[in-house]
Symmetry: C2
Subunit: 531 residues, 2 copies
Amino acid sequence: MRRWNGWGDEGTYMELPDTSRAFLAELVGPGNPLADASLDSVLAKVPASRLPGHPLIVREPRDRVLHARGQSLPDWLAMREGEFGVFPDGVAYPQTAGQIRELLRFAEEQDCLLIPYGGGTSVAGHINPPAADKPVLTVSLEHMSRLLELDEESLIATFGPGANGPQVESQLRARGYTLGHFPQSWELSTLGGWVASRSSGQQSLRYGRIEQLFAGGTLETFAGSLEIPTFPASSAGPDLREMVLGSEGRFGIISTVKVRVSRLADDERFYAVFLPGWEQALQAIRELAQSRVQLSMLRLSNAIETTTQLALAGHPGQIAWLERYLKWRGAGEGKCMLTFGVTGSRAQNAASLKLARRLLKDFGGVFTGTLLGRKWADGRFRFPYLRESLWQAGYVVDTLETATDWSNVGNLLGRIETSLRDGLAAEGERVHVFTHLSHVYGEGSSIYTTYVFRPAASYAATLERWRRLKHAASQTIAENRGTISHQHGVGKDHAPWLAAEKGPLGMAALKAMAAHFDPAGRLNPGTLLQD
Amino acid sequence: MRRWNGWGDEGTYMELPDTSRAFLAELVGPGNPLADASLDSVLAKVPASRLPGHPLIVREPRDRVLHARGQSLPDWLAMREGEFGVFPDGVAYPQTAGQIRELLRFAEEQDCLLIPYGGGTSVAGHINPPAADKPVLTVSLEHMSRLLELDEESLIATFGPGANGPQVESQLRARGYTLGHFPQSWELSTLGGWVASRSSGQQSLRYGRIEQLFAGGTLETFAGSLEIPTFPASSAGPDLREMVLGSEGRFGIISTVKVRVSRLADDERFYAVFLPGWEQALQAIRELAQSRVQLSMLRLSNAIETTTQLALAGHPGQIAWLERYLKWRGAGEGKCMLTFGVTGSRAQNAASLKLARRLLKDFGGVFTGTLLGRKWADGRFRFPYLRESLWQAGYVVDTLETATDWSNVGNLLGRIETSLRDGLAAEGERVHVFTHLSHVYGEGSSIYTTYVFRPAASYAATLERWRRLKHAASQTIAENRGTISHQHGVGKDHAPWLAAEKGPLGMAALKAMAAHFDPAGRLNPGTLLQD
């Protein structure tokens, strides 16, 4: 059963090793747990629905609670406190494109707002209902999750928009294929959500971002259905896929998604290499990306993240042995862990591994084989569960991310970390901050920063701490040539920063497009565009 | 000096080998040359300009003649006959973004139309002035061709939009870099034109299409300047670059272009392999693309193109020897020539070559080394000059292209060839038709078809022959899941077919976007969107 007030399945819990408690206590102080509300107390707060009955719509309090919040830190605090604020007036579960169109008509007739809902994993407030005079109907696509068609020659799969990661992969793998899109939210997030929010997966280096995987499909809008046929490439004018990618539910509701899939690779391995210091490490991964060594993933932790990961790994004996070995080989204090993967035929992977090892050696890399790489691969979707464990231990954890050109990566990373590390200094609180780069391009890299701090005495004051940190980091990103999001999307939390990168004319163009598809402004108001 | 009535530099002329005349006479009948008009006779027809004087604008007949037509077949016939029809009222040569904005203001004040002009190489009528009540000002960007900035860490180069292929490459190569974008029009076409018409280069397999190379820049519009900053990737809403890519001068005039460049590779080689038949050849290149063997170009000629190329090569003795060798190795009648390239470090190229050879061998490929590959590379930009030679010999040659998913490549290719081959049967004329695939993707491939036919007794009747052929092929493409253009763009010639792939809602959205940036409809009317 899915947790109503946190991440993932109730049956999954990640125990924090004892060493990590000591480690955190030393870094930011002893934990300070806040009390959780019960589901019953929340259900009791759900007001009467403002929507009339309809066969596709459920107005039960439970459904409305479960679709009221995503997984942003403000959402987390609201769920744990039991103060959701606003609930949708109902949740619709369409099973066909025709039923989605019926819901659009219903929204017009009833003068209500619509929020398309995939996996509910947004960490930027995409699916939160606004406090509005009009009723709000959330449209969950979870009953549209089937693989509808597979063109095995062209490697195009047609899915319902509500297929989540495991549903996408299990249906494809049964026939020998993979989409290869693995965002950290993969267990819960959906294909339609990935497209609508321009998601990126951990193996984007091989498979591409969702922009490259999304080949076509259908968007149901108030102006009609936008059908986008598949072509391998086209020079016939602006690409209509860009009216769906990143539209975040503002232009319409995605009813089918066609994606480019791959045959399952014969061979896949992940390796870990330690670089002696940050500067060499940064140069090494830039070189790997720019010289087009065929890797399928690449993740570089900075020194603090490396130390943190080793400290939280929970096997102090083994780690001490590893650290002695690394030190002896030249990667001691300040070392940075780089994980990389190769995916393909055995011959391809052998060639790529050889090229990568040779290049990394030039930068002082110490190769440690597949052990830590396998550990990364095994735990790749478990990180989000850590928020629960840390919360229970009395800590708050959040992440934020951006991307920028290589010439600015070091600068921006440093400024973001500083803005967070010093963000609560006024109240004498420390923030533990660490970063990795996990999506690299010829032009630059993503920057993914994790920060841990202690809750304040109340929920309201804790939210205020987060606001201060998030504001400082977002401002830093906007002022320093970073995108406000490389992989989480805009939602409501990043919307105030969007104009900084799109400019006034770009914002006006996006608003013109929204007005074209949704003249009455019923679709997901406040998300992506503030007005 | 550039030819005023044809392709390229006057100093370059490709002699047709005698054998090719006999070959063509046998295929479509003896040549039928039509008489060319003189430049003086055309200059005499240029009417008085309807524009007032302006320091940035030249109203001389010669400039107006040289910017009146592109390189489509109708353009060619108009230029050779000397019947241009419409001339722009003036040609402006801005040197700065500020001067482009000044010209936009001028257009508003004078109530005139604007046509952005790059290299004038459009084969789809992009830059032809319409017959309009309002004066038409062509804006040539040839004086904005400099490399303005080079970020050597991020591999981002900032150029003026008017830099043509040689200007782009020479400025980059002087610093050790390349853009790697080589459309066949490369000698004359420009960076801004590539972006505006979504161009693809011969080595797109390594460097990507212009969509992947275009990182940002500025579009000057009637609603203001759209500044697009560079990010390696972003999930912050719809990508504004898509409002420039494929906009074909309808939304604004590009004033700066930022592109992703590469360091010059250590090593580059091109090889030729002959496959015994079309079916195996098609499977082989699909397999190469889908298994991600790291090649930098791939071009597969069908059997007729293979025969035609060998016949036109002009070294009958050598070719006969080659054909005997191929036949002995199993690639006789029906053989298809595949050219592929590897670009990278020596180690990368050695690995890729090994993988490619092994795979091609499984499909019966006969490897012939680098001789024919080098020949392809040396002559890669010379093909367009052949139109002149064939014209003088009394033949018309044109090309058209599309792209479609793999499961449809064989079907669509066959139908296009048939539609052209039988297109003039009613008047008893034969058409020689052959095809290659030169841009391959995991999902599908481009299809590039060349057709040769004889002029009729008059220019008008010759144009009518072309119209019939082009219409039949375009209709075939639109009805059979092909894009109306993979690399030539829409212009005016393909505009009637655009709605077939964009759909009514897509067309409405593109029109809404044009109206947003250019409310009075002054920019390049009739191109891309018919109204």
